[in-house]
């Protein structure tokens, strides 16, 4: 694994961007751009990332960016791929990057289409588990029980959609989950995906202080706790082979998950959970963890 001090010093994200203080996406994005070495064209729909990119005529990102319609991220990126191919350009990675709403809700059709065609692009979903840019409305990536502005009483009633699982059903060359709390793991995954061909998918869990209701200094802590408790599991699937990575792998081999309540209590969005919902979430996380560990052991065997 790449050591943090070995990461490239070159910065593609400029200071003075419009991300909120403590933004998990901003952290992740910085490492993603380093991993891409600037040799990429970004396709970005309406999202927090659009805001981060700044307003015309200035941009906070030293990258060619194509802002695209909300539902079309993977389709417009497919067009960029097709256009570059038609023009004979082979030196640029096409990266589509959208939030959870732009991926799991309004963008899922275009993404599924691009993945089915095995379009040569890297798709990164940064998942802050609600429509944060428009003011914290629930998405199908919002976990059960979370209070949002559209689930104000009793929290969301449905469980989170397993988008990486849906992408696995497309049989892609590479699928991974990642967290900005573990930039080395994130960097290596983007690096690996960058150098592969066909559709590659990375799901980055991005803690969001104003949406999740925790202090802006705690972004990395919340990200760490999410993995320590199994709320987020770090893994990659390379040509169908499943493997736990980073801290998730260490926990599976040498340790055990911390209680999920540690994660639920470190942020305000779960504040109104009743005991039954907590138990349901705990059961769900534990079962999913067991399945992942079993798949990881199967691969080791």
């Amino acid at each position: 694994m790449t050591n943090l001090i070995d990461l490239p010093g070159e910065e593609y994200m400029l200071p003075g961007n419009r991300a909120c203080a403590g933004c998990g996406l901003a952290l992740a994005y910085r490492y993603i751009l380093k991993a891409l070495d600037g040799r990429a064209i970004m396709c970005v729909p309406a999202s927090c990332l659009t805001v981060l990119g700044g307003m015309y005529p200035v941009s906070s990102v030293r990258m060619p960016w194509l802002n695209v319609t909300f539902p079309s991220t993977a389709a417009t990126a497919s067009g960029v791929v097709a256009g570059l191919k038609a023009l004979g350009r082979k030196d640029v990675t096409v990266v589509a990057m959208a939030g959870d709403g732009g991926t799991v809700d309004i963008g899922i059709q275009a993404l599924s289409g691009a993945a089915e065609r095995n379009t040569d692009l890297l798709y990164i979903c940064y998942d802050n588990e609600a429509y944060m840019n428009t003011g914290v409305q629930r998405s199908s990536a919002t976990p059960k029980g979370v209070k949002t502005t559209t689930t104000p009483v009793g929290g969301k009633r449905e469980h989170k959609k397993d988008m990486a699982g849906i992408m696995e059903a497309h049989h892609l060359a590479y699928i991974a989950t990642a967290s900005p709390a573990f930039p080395d793991d994130l960097y290596d995954k983007v690096r690996k995906a960058r150098d592969m061909r066909g559709t590659r998918y990375i799901h980055v869990y991005a803690p969001c202080p104003p949406g999740w209701l925790f202090h802006t200094k705690d972004t990395v802590n919340v990200g760490r706790i999410s993995v320590e408790t199994g709320a987020v599991v770090l893994y990659e699937i390379e040509d169908g082979a499943f493997r736990l990575t980073g801290l998730s792998k260490e926990i599976a081999d040498f340790d055990e998950l911390k209680p999920l309540t540690t994660y639920l209590e470190c942020q305000g969005r779960f504040r109104d959970l009743d005991a039954a919902t907590i138990e349901e979430l705990e059961t769900r996380v534990a079962r999913r963890w067991d399945r992942y560990v079993a798949r990881d052991e199967e691969a080791d065997a």
């Binding site: 064209i41 005529p57 200035v58 941009s59 060619p64 960016w65 389709a75 990126a77 067009g79």
Partner: protein, 406 residues
């Protein structure tokens, strides 16, 4: 049909459908990226193009997308990096493209779209009227109607040149089934001749890591300074520039049609075409194949001693205001036949004709007619009969529906 002068360039007459004419034009224009989704009656355009690509006759990326929204989005991505992009659709497919239609125009991308005009659901109808493209008239695209298969080919080739001259996407509209599925002889110029006519596409902005640009980003209402202190446009200025480009497109549409005539011996008429209109006391105005049908009606009316003529609306956006004022000058009555409707008002072409003439000094009575919705057949005799009935109407009359049995 347009005048058949001796062709200046090598041509070959092919007996083909309107859809095949459109696909062949895209091939002659060496489109580099094609993305489309099946819909009746458009499907044959993209089937034909995929056959060209599969046979190695067309060196293009063919992207089999999962929706029309994605079809146009693929074209937007491809055009943004400098590839010549083409798509085609009809009716509900065009409606599903509504968002990227606005986006393509706002981003000033020279995409060409073949719109095979079909009625909008509900209820389902796969047959022809022009409600689909009319519903998208305010998306910022140039819209040009073709009246026969030759014009589909010629207009499509011209469309790529117009689009890249003014950096505005162009919709080539032609009637479903009446043209899309009807075979006609089409003079097809050689590849070399079209290559000479149509220069390669160079995008206004290149997406390149060597010179990173952020395209279509959030733009505020008022102008803002860039990092060098230079004041740059706000949203409103960008919209003004798009409108200015549409206005300038009038001259471009006329000039490109003249260049085309010089190269291939055929003109489509520029902004509009006329038939026996010079001394006409009554004029029939329509777009697409309905205007061809009106020409047949005019011959019958003339045989009866009625001085009638036709104005065929070729460019619908930008609208041929000045040309209409001049063409209607001798007429006492103008009958506008729309194959679509702006509900709660009148036919969109009728409303636009009235607006163009208002205050111009030319003020014939303008009467609106709705005809041929959902594939209802419109016969020349019905148009001629409408002209005869119209003589009894006053200066202002309610919109009349032709052959609506209710």
């Amino acid at each position: 049909m347009a005048s058949r002068m001796a062709a200046a360039a090598d041509t070959e007459v092919q007996i083909i459908t309107g859809n095949q004419a459109m696909a062949l034009a895209a091939k002659r224009c060496r489109v580099q990226v094609v993305a489309a989704y099946p819909i009746t009656p458009q499907s044959q355009v993209t089937e034909t193009l995929s056959e060209y690509v599969a046979a190695g006759e067309l060196d293009a990326e063919y992207v089999n997308v999962e929706s029309e929204h994605s079809a146009l989005s693929v074209c937007i991505g491809a055009s943004s990096v400098g590839a010549r992009a083409f798509t085609a659709t009809s009716a509900n497919g065009l409606a599903y493209m509504c968002e990227p239609l606005h986006w393509a125009a706002g981003a000033r991308l020279p995409i060409v779209l073949g719109c095979v005009n079909r009625a909008m659901a509900a209820p389902w109808s796969v047959l022809n009227d022009q409600q689909d493209s009319m519903s998208q008239r305010d998306a910022g695209w140039i819209q040009i109607f073709a009246r026969n298969n030759q014009e589909i080919f010629d207009t499509a080739v011209q469309a790529f040149k117009i689009a890249q001259t003014v950096s505005v996407p162009v919709m080539v509209c032609y009637d479903g089934y009446l043209l899309s599925h009807t075979v006609m002889p089409v003079d097809v110029p050689s590849q070399e001749a079209v290559d000479t006519f149509l220069p390669p596409y160079t995008p206004h902005t290149i997406l390149d890591p060597a010179d990173p640009r952020n395209l279509n980003q959030v733009t505020l209402a008022d102008p803002r300074e860039n990092e060098k202190g230079v004041l740059c446009h706000g949203y409103m200025e960008l919209r003004y520039l798009l409108e200015e480009a549409l206005e300038q497109a009038r001259d471009t549409i006329i000039a490109v049609d003249e260049e085309y005539a010089a190269a291939f011996g055929r003109s489509c008429g520029g902004m509009l075409w006329t038939y026996r209109s010079e001394d006409a006391e009554v004029l029939l105005v329509a777009a697409g194949s309905l205007a061809s049908e009106a020409s047949v009606a005019v011959d019958a009316l003339r045989a009866d001693g009625c001085k009638a003529g036709v104005i065929g609306v070729r460019a619908y956006r930008p609208f041929p205001k000045q040309e209409l004022i001049e063409a209607t000058a001798p007429a006492a009555r103008v009958l506008v036949f729309d194959k679509s409707l702006s509900y709660g008002n009148e036919g969109p072409i009728c409303g636009d004709v009235k607006a163009a003439l208002y205050g111009s000094g030319s003020h014939p009575a303008v009467h609106g007619y709705i005809a041929g919705l959902g594939g209802r057949d419109v016969r020349a005799a019905e148009l001629a009969e409408a002209v005869r009935r119209d003589a009894a109407k006053g200066a202002v009359a309610p919109t009349e529906w032709i052959n609506c049995r209710i």
